[in-house]
Each structure stands twice: as C-alpha cells, then as structure tokens.
C-alpha cells in the first residue's frame, strides 16, 4: 500500500465532489462531530420516516479527502436503509477499519461493499483513521440522539 493506492480515483472523486453535501430539509435527527487534532468537522442530518427508514441523509462539513470521501460514500449507502440496518452497517464498517479484512454484513450489495472497501487502506495510516471514521461515529450519535454540541463557551 502506498499513497498512490490510498488516494485512488474513487476517493479523490468523492473527496472533491462529495455527494449529499447539503442540509436535509425537515431533518429529524442530527449530530455534529469534530476532530480537534486536525480541525475536521462534520454535521450529519437524517430524516427517518415513520417506519424508521432513512428517507434522506446529508452532511455539511470540511476536512481532508479521506474524511469527505468517507462521509460522501457513507451517506450514499445509507440512504433508504432501515434504522437497524444502518446500525449494522456502521458497526461492520468500524470493525473493518479497526481490525477485520472485510465487511461481513448482508445488507450491502457487492458493489457497495467494494466502494466502502476503498477506505480500508487507511488502516495503515493510524493517525488518519479518525478522518475515515468521524462521520460514521457522528451518524451513530445522530441516530441515538446524542446531541453532543461543541461548547465554545467558558467552562
């Protein structure tokens, strides 16, 4: 693995032209994530319908190619999934980034899995793993309704 392989075309593409980089109208779940080390920021917006299905998902934020691509690919895959499926996908992705060779969920199709596996190279760059996982952790917060707002006031 070298950086040429890490920054493959799909990452650069999603990094430069992120999908779903906007704010969902009438979102009913959201959360903010922040990486103080590098300043990456993300704000995830979700609209779950009455059947707990993701009707829309979007994000706002700024960050490196890895973090933007990760948020972009994630939002693409999550759209239309049921809440319980979302949780499974998130866990599977985080496990994969942490230690597993591949994705094990039965929810995503092979194409989607291949897309996600593009991010697996980041494992070899430990200081950058957070770039890839930030939006995923933030999605979990949004789903669980942990609105951990960054407090810039005195404390």
């Amino acid at each position: 693995m070298n950086t040429k392989e890490l920054y493959q075309q799909i990452i650069l593409d999603h990094g430069k032209n992120p999908r779903n980089l906007r704010k969902t109208e009438n979102f009913n779940k959201d959360a903010k994530g922040y990486n103080p080390l590098c300043g990456d920021k993300v704000h995830i917006y979700l609209k779950l319908n009455e059947n707990k299905k993701v009707e829309d998902i979007s994000f706002e934020g700024q960050g490196c190619a890895i973090s933007m691509a990760s948020a972009s690919i994630m939002t693409d895959l999550i759209k239309g999934k049921e809440e319980f499926e979302v949780k499974e996908i998130v866990n599977d992705f985080l496990d994969m980034i942490k230690e597993k060779d591949k994705l094990n969920n039965n929810i995503l199709g092979e194409d989607d899995k291949t897309k996600l596996m593009c991010l697996s190279g980041i494992k070899q760059y430990p200081m950058r793993v957070k770039c890839a996982t930030l939006s995923w952790h933030t999605l979990t917060s949004a789903i669980n309704n942990f609105k951990e707002e960054i407090n810039t006031e005195d404390n």
């Binding site: 922040y34 080390l37 430990p126 200081m127 960054i150 810039t152 006031e153 404390n155």
Partner: protein, 405 residues
C-alpha cells in the same frame, strides 16, 4: 531476572565513587536507573525522536504509540480500570498540586477542612496550604503515634462534617510506616469523603491495585520508581478527571478555541497541556517492565530481608537511636546518634561511599513533633544487600570514633 545480583543491571555500581564502591542508601530520595531505562532514552532520541500527537508523519505516529503504550503499561501495573485514568505529570509534586488546585477550585469553600497527617511530605501539605489563603479553608493533621504510625483511629478522630478531602501518604518517607490506606479509604468513603494517596514511597515498593485500594487519587514519582527524572503520574478515578476543571492550559488539551471561549479536550488530553516529557514517558515503560520482570512479590520479600537486617543491626549499635518503630515498615530507616548531628554523620559516611540523606526530609511537621530538627535516613532500593547494611554500620562506627563516642 534474579534479584540477588540485580545490582549488575544498574551501571552506576560499575564505577567507583571517590575510590569507593557506592553504597546507595538514598533511594527514597531518588532511585538509580537500570541499563534498560537509560538505553531506551538513548535510543529514542537517537533513532525515533519526534513530538507526539501533533503531526501525522511516521516518527510522530510511532512516538505517539510509544507514549500511549506507557499509559497502558502503567494502567496494568497499578490495576486501574481505565487507561484514561493515568495522567502524566512532571512529578508527584505536580500531581498533588493538580488535585489540590482543581478540587479546591470546584469543591472547597470557606471553613471547609482538608485532613492530612503529621507524616506528610511538604508536597502533600504546601499545595493545600495555598487554599488556606485563597479559599479560607482549614487544614487538620491526623496525629502520628510513638511508633511513627498514623492509624485508622487517628484519622477517624479528625474527620467531621467539614472534612472535604483526605490526603495521606502510603508509606512515610521518614518513619517507614505503611498506612492502612484501604481501611482509611473505606472509612472516608462511608462518609462521602474522597482520598488522595501520596504514593511516592509506596509505588516503588508495594503491590499496587487501584481498584482494590479504591482511593480517588494516587500520586507517583517516576524517578523513585527507577525511571527517568521529569515524569510523574497522577492516577485519578475517571469521574474526577471528567468532573474537575483543567489545571494547566495550552496546546493539546483543548477541543475548540474561539476568541470568546474555549472548550477542553477529552481524557487523557484535558490534563496534559503542552509538549509533555515525551522521552521520559516512553522510557518509563522500561521501568515498569523491569519491575514486572523481577516481580513485585520478589521485590517486597527482598527488601523486607534487607530492612529487617538493617533494623536489627542498627538496634544493636549502641548510641544509634531509631526514630520510629512501625509494625508495618517499608524500606526507610531514620535514626539519630546522640551528640552527632545528622549532617555530620552524612558527611563522614559519604567518605566511605555510603550515601544517605540527612535533614528534615521535607517533613518539618513531623520533625517538630519528634523534637529534632534533623535525622539521618537510610533508604532501601531493589539493589541493596546485607553487605550494604554492614558497610553502613561500620561507617557509623567510624563516626563514633571520630566524635570520640
């Protein structure tokens, strides 16, 4: 690793000190360093040096991992519940200042009491003293008994409903007494009072189990644990580290910084402002590994043999007066000789390569109580032998001769 020839692991003993073999009996002051620790510092600077946590280049990543590895090793060694309960400081003194300052800010108010003991080192008194002025609190002293011990009862007697925190030493650096910390913590907790333990002398010599002791704070000095100078450890229960305000401000401990305000980082960063003692923290991992390799039980057994032998030897030496007689004693023995001042003793012993300490050992309150301004102190480390004690004794005899006793 065999403890009987452990001296070989410490290069300082390979050299003569003023033509003498070094008889180092000043480990309570600071311990000598094993080769593995010295080498680790050397190698880190020579081949791997980088600051931690701030850059994404290879050396920085590697250093950050090494730094965090020490945190994990310390966690395991002292059986803390969580890695983030380990805060690196510049020393035990800073660790105690951190607690006094932040706990004081948040929880101490006019008329509140801090309970410490007459055995405390100045490091576990002066930081609380600062709050007397700024917060108008009072400091109470649990009494030491004739044997140089502070008992559970002595603590209990001084607890009242104004007592907000208790600070006690684990092992006295003057009398050698080991305090019943677990019992004191349990008593204090039954009254809702947190306990800080000054573990400077405990950590190098006793088996540590934070979850069993259940204390709220435990301060450790790296250089007394055969580690580099410039590093200490504060163990604190997570709930306290989350609850208390930060201590020093700077890079690394913040979350977001705006002109109007600042939010602070999560553990462990919150209490580690600025560039830390990176090389020292990394090398301290070798101290921990070294102690683990020998085994704390072996260390305790060995040191007990030596200290018992020392007590027995000095008791037999007339004109030597041991200044305490604790039932549960660590490797610290303080003594006086009638008609020879401790500083004169230390100077004469030094001529034979016997390094002890003379003075009040940063415990003036205790010395006031003992009615002597200074004592001589021999303190034991893992490398000491019965021969060292024999040499101590014969040098003491030389003192007596010089002073015509």
């Amino acid at each position: 690793m065999n403890i009987s020839n452990i001296k070989e692991e410490f290069p300082i003993f390979n050299n003569k000190i003023q033509n003498n073999d070094l008889v180092y009996l000043d480990s309570a002051n600071s311990a000598q360093k094993p080769q593995v620790v010295i080498d680790r510092v050397y190698d880190f600077y020579s081949k791997e040096f980088s600051n931690v946590g701030r850059s994404v280049h290879y050396l920085a990543v590697a250093a950050t991992n090494l730094y965090e590895n020490t945190r994990s090793s310390v966690q395991k060694y002292i059986n803390a519940k969580d890695k983030n309960e380990i805060v690196f400081t510049k020393g035990a003194t800073e660790a105690i200042n951190l607690v006094a300052n932040t706990f004081g800010q948040k929880y101490l108010n006019k008329g509140d009491e801090v309970l410490i003991t007459e055995l405390e080192h100045h490091s576990n008194y002066v930081p609380w003293h600062f709050l007397r002025k700024s917060k108008k609190i009072n400091i109470e002293f649990a009494e030491v008994n004739e044997d140089g011990e502070v008992t559970l009862q002595s603590i209990e007697k001084k607890i009242n409903n104004k007592t907000k925190i208790i600070g006690i030493t684990h092992l006295s650096n003057v009398t050698g007494a080991i305090l019943p910390v677990k019992e004191i913590v349990s008593l204090a907790h039954s009254k809702g009072i947190p306990v800080l333990v000054d573990g400077c002398q405990g950590a190098p010599h006793l088996k540590l189990d934070m979850q069993d002791l259940d204390c709220d704070f435990y301060a450790i000095s790296g250089h007394k644990m055969y580690g580099p100078t410039g590093i200490g450890i504060l163990y604190a229960k997570k709930k306290w580290l989350e609850d208390l305000p930060p201590y020093q401000g700077g890079g690394g401990m913040i979350k977001e910084v705006k002109k109007q305000g600042i939010s602070f980082g999560d553990l462990p960063n919150k209490y580690e402002a600025g560039t830390m003692a990176t090389a020292q923290v990394i090398a301290f991992n070798e101290s921990i590994k070294f102690l683990e390799k020998i085994g704390i039980e072996n260390i305790q057994n060995h040191e007990k043999v030596i200290v018992d032998y020392a007590v027995e030897t000095l008791k037999k030496n007339n004109s030597v007066e041991l200044i305490a007689n604790p039932k549960n004693r660590g490797g610290v023995i303080s003594f006086t000789i009638k008609d020879i001042h401790p500083h004169d003793i230390a100077t004469i012993l030094d001529e034979d390569g016997v390094a002890i300490r003379a003075g009040h050992h940063c415990c003036q309150i205790l010395h006031d109580k003992l009615g002597v301004p200074a004592t001589a102190r021999a303190s034991i480390g893992v490398y000491n032998t019965k021969e060292d004690i024999d040499k101590l004794n014969s040098s003491i005899n030389k003192c007596k001769k010089i002073f015509n006793l």
